[in-house]
């Protein structure tokens, strides 16, 4: 099948829709993987999902077929029945729902992919809304939406969190003083109050110095 000229014909002319959707899909996938900015990743995700939607909708197309809404003569509540040769009383005849014959099916495009993609579009919008809310929350917490800066801040917070609670006041990493302030501020400020009120936040993330292990026995939570 893939002889010299045939690949161009087969792929780019007769199956153009598949080629287009693959190109869009790759653009979206590349953006999702390689871009640094979180919003650009989300744009890539949107393009990726749109390419899939385009693929499905292109399946529904039939040559010389119209949209999947009944034409007047097949309409279940149809009133149009022009038979002028049969006389006046036929002209306003109601006809009830009719089951279509096989040749008439070819006049309508396939409705099923349209339905599936209505669902997929809505799901995509919902995911995008959620992702944007997440991005806002990340910006509130870390002050950046560039992935590399975010990773550095997160790594510092993780390093701090994974320190043993036994090493009470000696913080080995000097970077702690500078960078983790932003990450800490958002979680640490309400936790300066009494221990029981701040119990809600994940204990491992907080400054280990405040927690002497074993002192939990004295406190009823």
């Amino acid at each position: 099948m893939f002889e010299d000229g045939a690949i161009v014909n087969e792929l780019l002319v007769e199956r153009l829709n598949y080629f287009i959707y693959v190109v869009l899909l790759l653009i979206g996938l590349h953006a999702m993987i390689s871009k640094r900015n979180l919003i650009k990743k989300l744009i890539g995700m949107s393009i990726f999902q749109t390419a899939i939607i385009l693929f499905y909708v292109s399946i529904a197309v039939k040559e010389e077929a119209t949209i999947p809404i009944y034409k007047a003569e097949h309409d279940p509540h149809g009133e149009v029945h022009h038979h002028p040769e049969k006389g006046g009383e036929e002209a306003e005849a109601h006809h009830g729902p009719v089951a279509l014959k096989d040749e008439e099916i070819k006049q309508y495009a396939n409705p099923l992919p349209h339905v599936l993609m209505l669902t997929a579009i809505v799901v995509g919008v919902a995911t995008l809304g959620l992702a944007l809310a997440l991005t806002q929350r990340i910006y509130q917490g870390y002050g950046t939406i560039e992935e590399d800066e975010l990773l550095t801040k997160i790594e510092r917070a993780d390093d701090r969190a994974s320190q043993s609670p036994l090493k009470s006041n000696q913080s080995p990493s000097p970077k702690k003083a500078k960078g983790s302030a932003t990450a800490k501020k958002a979680t640490a400020s309400p936790s300066r109050k009494s221990g029981s009120a701040s119990q809600g936040k994940s204990a491992a993330k907080r400054k280990p110095a405040k927690r002497k292990p074993g002192s939990g026995g004295g406190k009823k939570a």
Partner: protein, 520 residues
Amino acid sequence: MMENAIAWIFIFPLFGAVACALVGMRQSKLCYPISGLSMLGATWAGAETLMQAVQSPVHEVSYILGGWTLDAFPRGVGIEFRADLLGALITLVVLGVGLIVSLYSKLPVREETPGKEPLFYVLFLLQITGLAGICLTGDAFNLYVLIEVAALTGYGLIAMGTNRAAAATFNYLILGTIGASLYLLGVGYLYIKTGTLNMVGVQQVIQANGLMDSPSMQVAFALIGLGILIKMAFFPFHAWLPNAYCNAPTTTSCLLAPLVTKVMIYVMIRMTLTVFGVEFSFESTLWSEFMPWLVVVAIVCAAVMALAQREIKRMLAYLIVAEVGYMVGGVWIYNYYGLIGSIFHIISDACMTLCLFLGAGLILRKAKTTHFDGLRGLFAKMPLTMIGFFVGGFSIIGLPPTCGFFSKWYLITGGMVSQRWEYLVVLMFSTMVMVVLFFRLIERIHLAVNEEGKNLGHGHGDLGLTEEQTRFDEGPLSMLIPLLLAASVVLVIGIYNQDVVNQIELFLEPFDLPKGTGRP
């Protein structure tokens, strides 16, 4: 009423979620009882469906939503819910875990996410609806919608916590969307070649039209498989799991960790056996050749990384990745016993992971940390919690009479009989790693170590720890009883393992899997 039991499985949590949204905005205290009652009703419906599936002559319950019954309409016109033995078993497990976690959730939710309890319970109940629906549906596109329901609620549940959780969720969202979209694309390829979305219908068309060798079917299989592997955190797509589960609020990790990845493995088994068929999946594609090797790499890496952790929840997260490797390997060694082991392992892994995470939540609450160094003398302080936690731990290692022993037994049998020595070796290796992991923990928790690292002997009020630190101080009952319930489920499933395996064997019978080596 009884013939609609399968519909009640999702009606209860769905209407419970809506009730939480309506009522809970005013009276947030009502959300906990509403969620408990919904889960109780759903679990009853799940048990009823399992009974019906066991007693029916074809071992399945078929329910077409919308009334488009198969005698009057072509297959695929309506959406079918098909509870065969596999689906009914896993649904019951999902609902049972949801029930236990909803009982457990009262205090952690109030404390970790104050003011957001109604929202939490709405998302919780909808997550259960999505997961239970995934296990029951018989329509490939409906499966995509339900996967997205489960995924979106999961993102919301995790990101409700700290800012760190929100950052972890973003990564999870990107990877999860790629996975689900690849699945959708694969379903599109299936549709374009077969013209139907009903799972059994697709299988029928593949058989009738001889589509086994078509390249688009192979690519459809690859896309669906890849999408599902990303969603189940198979190495190397596992990067989202440790961060997401460790930074999530306690109840969220107790719900998501046992269920989400296992349900995805169920989806893989469903796609492999029911949609594409045994002949296509195992003999036409090359997956059964190279997947066991990928599984070996996955399990080794996950086990080694688990060994390197110093914090309980992170260690458990890497153990989940290793367990996923077991189950995927059990499927792809193309053997009857391997598949029994895989399916039984889904059930037992859900229960034992539940035990472990419930225990970790209690430890966090009482010891204020889950770092290994903060666990000195905990056995004296919280013996019941520790017993519950370690029942889960022994099940992961695979000690009888816990259910983990029996599922591992079948996996090992499968590996031996099919002569996949690489899988067998890696099972043994990882079991030894897990023994080291858990006995190290036992040592820490049971013995007392003072600040300079000297072993001071038994943790019952000896030197180094004050009377106060080792006084009996268990967690609250609303968290303790679910943990003990989960531990007893682990033991009960282990003791009655033959009953469960009988049902699995009944399910696998029509598929005619090789009982010896699968290689031609």
